[in-house]
């Protein structure tokens, strides 16, 4: 056996630099905390700096490829998804600078956990090694459970516990799935698996399908694919609004990247079994997510179910397997990021730490009755986010929907395209329901400040950035899709 060579150049440290930076930032916060208790402003600043530095490091990776004993795989997809993860995090972080004091922000650990979580997801997307994926996934998830629980309401604790239990179950499924694939192919790297499985022409199909079922269940849990989505509304409701918005984006893009790497070659198999499975899952997810969102009374729960539906919508990109679809997937998610985070931030800005608006919900639809009369600016802002989520031109998500439905048509998935269109139509109903409440009903209270009582300058800034992006998205589509296109094509998807 040859001794392991430690060649620093061959390690290609660039590939791991962004994660090292986030991890370093997290450790720095923990160490500082040992010596001196500092204000949350400080932690926010450090976290922001760390994340911006990590983004910078991502742009420094000019030679895409493998590193760290070939465990790391930093290709175009990894770059885009890391940018989406960090971008969402940068937008999320200022939301901690609320007007009211919330308990979680008192702890330095909150910020450390947050950075650990990001690092976990970064690892998850920058490798095709199932073990590292697993590690990244669990690092990110464990940190996330803690973040949810730190919101320190009974509901938060409950939902964190539920999420944790189910997450553990999903982790088990993932491990089983990995095991089966390792058994078939003798490798834990997706690239190798692909070579082996395609090499012997999908001969072990039943076993492959067993493994695939495990993987679908495991990743389906992360992506809240029906029927593994049951945690979503409870957990979103338990988590603070920005964290819920964050959860609807970041862990999911990480999950999508893994799903893309894993299912892409399986879905393209000749018999089309996996493709059909994914088809059913995607259609079920977008449809059931939609019809459940229809009947919700709380805006947050509605948004939770609707983000399930959005995930189903984007799932279709994986089964289509064309470059256009993959570009559409990242494009959609980028546009969705700004819109959804904006919508959740709108809820956050109206939150009170202890008082709940009504017994059952923080944000029932009735809370927004006649909002335009008492707080027109906020109402218009909220309406813009809702219209964008509903996919109404020229707002952001419309372009994503257009791109994906176009991809479906171009790849001859006509029924899928039709179902996507019908679902988009159904979705308009519940998004506009909120708009109707805000614009056409009479106010339920006189005090307009209730809608931004938690507001501070950083929160407003985040909202403005999100709103401007949503409105001006028409101008960004061209360069954005071109950027994504080059990266996706470069990594062979």
């Amino acid at each position: 056996m040859e001794p392991v060579k430690f060649d620093l150049v061959a390690l290609n440290l660039n590939t791991i630099m962004p994660m090292l930076i986030t991890l370093g930032g997290a450790l720095f916060i923990l160490i500082i905390d040992l010596f001196k208790k500092l204000d949350k402003q400080f932690y926010v600043t450090v976290s922001m700096a760390t994340m911006l530095l990590a983004i910078y490091a991502i742009f420094q990776i000019n030679s895409a490829g493998r590193g760290f004993f070939d465990v790391m795989l930093v290709d175009g997809v990894a770059v885009i998804s890391q940018l989406i993860i960090l971008g969402a995090s940068v937008l999320f972080m200022p939301l901690a600078l609320t007007g009211f004091r919330f308990r979680e922000f008192k702890f330095a650990e909150y910020f450390a956990f947050f950075l650990f979580m990001i690092a976990g997801f970064q690892f998850m997307v920058s490798t095709d090694n199932l073990i590292l994926i697993f590690l990244g996934l669990e690092t990110g998830s464990l940190a996330l459970y803690a973040l949810i629980a730190m919101h320190n309401r009974q509901k938060s604790l409950e939902s964190a516990l539920k999420y944790f239990t189910m997450g553990a179950f999903a982790a088990g499924l993932f491990a089983f799935g990995s095991m089966i694939f390792y058994g078939i192919t003798g490798s834990v790297e997706i690239g190798q698996m692909k070579t082996v499985i395609e090499g012997n022409n999908f001969s072990n199909m039943p076993l492959i399908l067993l493994g695939t079922a495990f993987m679908i269940a495991a990743l389906g849990f992360k992506l809240s694919i029906v029927p593994f989505h049951t945690w979503t509304p409870d957990v979103y409701e338990g988590a603070s609004a920005p964290l819920a918005g964050y959860m609807s984006i970041v862990p999911k893009i990480a999950g999508f990247v893994v799903a893309l790497r894993f299912f892409d070659f399986l879905a393209m198999a000749d018999d089309g079994v996996v493709q059909t499975l994914l088809w059913i899952a995607a259609v079920a997810t977008m449809t059931i997510g939609n019809i459940l969102a229809l009947v919700q009374d709380g805006v947050k729960r509605m948004l939770a179910y609707s983000s399930v539906s959005h995930a189903g919508f984007v799932m279709t990109a994986i089964l289509m397997g064309t470059t256009q679809a993959h570009v559409g997937m990242f494009l959609y998610w980028t546009l969705f990021l700004f819109t959804n985070l904006g919508a959740f931030a709108m809820l956050w800005i109206s939150r009170h730490p202890s008082k709940q608006f009504d017994i059952r919900y923080d944000h029932p639809f009735t809370k927004f009755s006649g909002m335009v009369k008492i707080n027109p600016v906020a109402a218009v802002m909220m309406a813009i986010f809702m219209l964008s989520l509903a996919g109404i031109p020229p707002f952001a998500v419309y372009w994503g929907k257009l791109y994906l439905i176009g991809a479906a048509i171009n790849s001859d998935h006509l029924y899928l395209a039709l179902i996507m269109a019908i679902n988009s139509a159904i979705a308009v109903y519940y998004y506009l329901k909120l708009v109707v409440f805000m614009f056409l009903k009479d106010p339920s209270q006189n005090d307009g400040t209730i809608y931004n009582m938690n507001g501070t300058f950083p929160l407003r800034l985040v909202l403005i950035v999100a709103a401007v992006f949503v409105i001006a998205s028409i101008a960004t589509i061209e360069p954005l899709s071109a950027f994504i296109q080059t990266h996706v094509v470069a990594s062979g998807f």
Partner: protein
């Protein structure tokens, strides 16, 4: 020349926009003056264009920009002024300009003064567009524009129920006919791949006879609607609900003549299918007689004139149908002058009589309204076709055409109709201007119209006098450069002079009879009401009643049925059902989400099993 063409075409549009901007305000003199001046500009440009076409014999053509480019369907926004168009635009602008000036006085006290001029100029613009377009599609745009404007103007006093009803009737009936027209144009495009006149006419011989029959038939359906030919004629008389200057415009310049223009314009399509032409001629002769008969008994001054237009359009279609396109166009021109004059005169009378329309309640107005009396008498003489006024030249020509072409039945019908025309025209003149002053019973004090209104009418009067003998030669030389130059001569001089004098004497007798019968009338004689023919005629042969009974009422029932039974019971119900069932589905699946962790875990396991089962099942099926 191009700029002149644009000026002639777009000046009315500018006027319309100008008045339209002021539309919401109360009366402003400038809103009437500017469109009128712009229309005079348009008139001047049209006359220069006419001069150009006359002197050089070449058409002015422009392509403004590409209009439609879809696949290999290309239509440019093109306009042209050739011999036929030159005649049309001059007629249209002369009549319209005079009507505009007249309207400044006529609409003096109306609240919608500004709005009126906006519509009026738009009407003219649409008609100019119609006649100047160099392709069928542009013609269709103008055609529809004319339809819309007629709707706006007939229903100008929209607060009157009858006015809005008449506006709808005019619009809907034209819409029915326009469908035929549109189908005809589509057929042309389908067969020849173009809608441009030159290209279409150059390729007529490539068309199958049956197809050509369909094309000409369908186009004529469109013409029937616009020119109010039987059975689509009822709207024209009802359109009298609009302000009187509008009637003058519709009847003389901007609307009903469009149908005749279409047939003349498309003469090269009609030439190879004489059977269609013969049908058009027969229908025209029938309408001429039919409309004249209704005019005999009517007690509404404006309706009488309207029926007379219908009748004269019939004459034009006889000429066009028999291939004498230049004659048809000539009658169109002369008729435009004296009919506009007649209507404007009627407008004066209406104003004087406080909107009273029943001539039996007038009488002896010649003392109070000398100018109007002279002008209207002149117009009536021209209409009756007495030498040397305009009507004689054009109408006699049509009679000669029928005679020379050996259509003696048509000839007889038209000759009789000429007598009827003279009779009802002078029945009207006698009742309005002669005899006892019956209006005094109603306490009306008539007054003459503004002087400038009479001045605006005088050019029309001059044209009604001289258009026949003055223009015929030049006109013939010019339009026959593009229309078939058939001259219709009765070979035997004896027959010819007998015909001419015979007709004149016949018409003269009819006039004399009308005078004798109606000068001394004291009031309307109710005894006649029980007469069968009177009842038939006054009820317009019961055609409106038949339409009501067999078309309108059943259609309304059908619509109600479609609404109540099909739309509400079936379509709406299905839509609602889909919505509620989706919603219910949501309520049901909500129960899946109890928030109970054990249930959730079980569901996950179940999900895994389902995925596996489906996967294996699919695998089996794939094998």
């Amino acid at each position: 020349m191009e700029n002149l063409l644009y000026t002639a075409l777009f000046a009315p549009l500018v006027g319309s926009i100008f008045a339209g901007v002021l539309g919401g305000r109360s009366k402003m003199m400038i809103a009437g003056l500017v469109p009128s001046i712009l229309l005079l500009v348009s008139l001047a440009a049209s006359l220069v264009l006419l001069g150009h076409v006359l002197s050089t014999g070449t058409a002015v053509a422009v392509t403004m920009f590409d209009w439609i480019n879809i696949g290999n369907f290309n239509v440019a926004f093109g306009f042209q002024v050739d011999q036929v168009t030159a005649v049309m635009i001059c007629v249209v602008t002369v009549v319209s300009a005079m009507v505009h000036i007249y309207s400044i006085g006529y609409m003096d006290h109306d609240k919608g003064f500004n709005r009126f001029f906006s519509y009026l100029s738009l009407f003219v613009f649409s008609m100019m567009f119609l006649v100047m377009s160099d392709n069928f599609l542009g013609l269709f745009v103008g055609w529809e524009g004319v339809g819309v404007c007629s709707y706006l103007l007939v229903g100008f006093w929209y607060h009157k129920r009858s006015a809005s009803w008449a506006a709808n009737e005019a619009f809907i009936m034209n819409r029915v006919a326009d469908l035929g027209m549109l189908l005809g144009i589509a057929l042309i495009y389908w067969q020849l791949g173009t809608v441009k006149y030159d290209e279409v006419f150059a390729n007529v011989d490539k068309l199958d006879m049956t197809v050509l029959l369909w094309i000409t038939g369908l186009l004529f359906v469109g013409a029937m609607g616009k020119s109010a030919q039987f059975p689509l004629h009822t709207w024209l008389a009802d359109a009298m609900e609009g302000p009187t200057p509008v009637s003058a415009l519709i009847h003389a310049a901007t609307m009903v003549t469009a149908g005749v223009y279409l047939v003349v314009r498309a003469n090269e399509l009609y030439a190879p299918v004489p059977e269609v032409g013969y049908f058009i001629a027969c229908l025209g002769a029938f309408v001429a007689m039919f409309a004249a008969s209704m005019a005999l008994v009517n007690r509404d001054m404006k309706r009488i004139i309207a029926y007379s237009t219908l009748s004269q359009l019939g004459y034009m279609f006889v000429a066009a149908g028999l291939g004498a396109y230049w004659v048809a166009l000539f009658h169109l021109m002369t008729h435009a002058f004296f009919k506009a004059l007649l209507f404007l005169g009627a407008g004066n009378v209406m104003h004087a009589m406080h909107d009273e329309l029943d001539p039996f309640k007038m009488g002896g107005l010649r003392k109070a309204m000398k100018g109007t009396f002279i002008l209207m008498t002149l117009a009536s003489v021209a209409l009756a076709g007495i030498w040397p006024l305009a009507g004689f030249f054009s109408k006699d020509l049509i009679l000669e055409v029928a005679f020379v072409e050996h259509h003696f039945i048509l000839y007889t019908v038209l000759l009789l109709t000429a007598g009827l025309t003279a009779f009802y025209s002078f029945r009207l003149v006698a009742l309005i201007f002669h005899g006892e002053e019956r209006y005094k019973l109603f306490g009306i004090h008539p007054h003459e119209a503004y002087r400038f209104m009479l001045i605006a009418m005088s050019p029309l009067a001059i044209l009604a006098v001289i258009a026949g003998f003055g223009f015929k030669g030049d006109y013939f030389a010019m339009v026959t450069q593009m229309l078939p130059a058939t001259e219709y001569h009765v070979h035997s001089p004896v027959v010819y002079w007998t015909m001419v004098f015979g007709t004149q004497i016949f018409v003269g007798l009819a006039i004399a009879y009308a005078y004798i019968k109606y000068v001394k009338v004291k009031a309307f004689d109710p005894a006649i009401e029980s007469n069968f023919f009177y009842k038939l005629l006054i009820n317009q042969y019961y055609i409106p009643a038949l339409y009501e009974k067999f078309i309108t009422v059943p259609y309304a029932k059908l619509s109600r049925f479609a609404w109540k039974q099909i739309d509400q019971r079936i379509v709406d119900a299905i839509v609602d059902l889909i919505a509620t069932s989706i919603y219910k589905l949501g309520e049901v699946s909500k129960r899946m989400h109890t928030g109970n962790l054990s249930t959730m875990l079980r569901l996950m396991t179940l999900g895994f099993v389902i995925v596996l089962v489906i996967a294996l099942a699919l695998q089996m099926m794939a094998k």
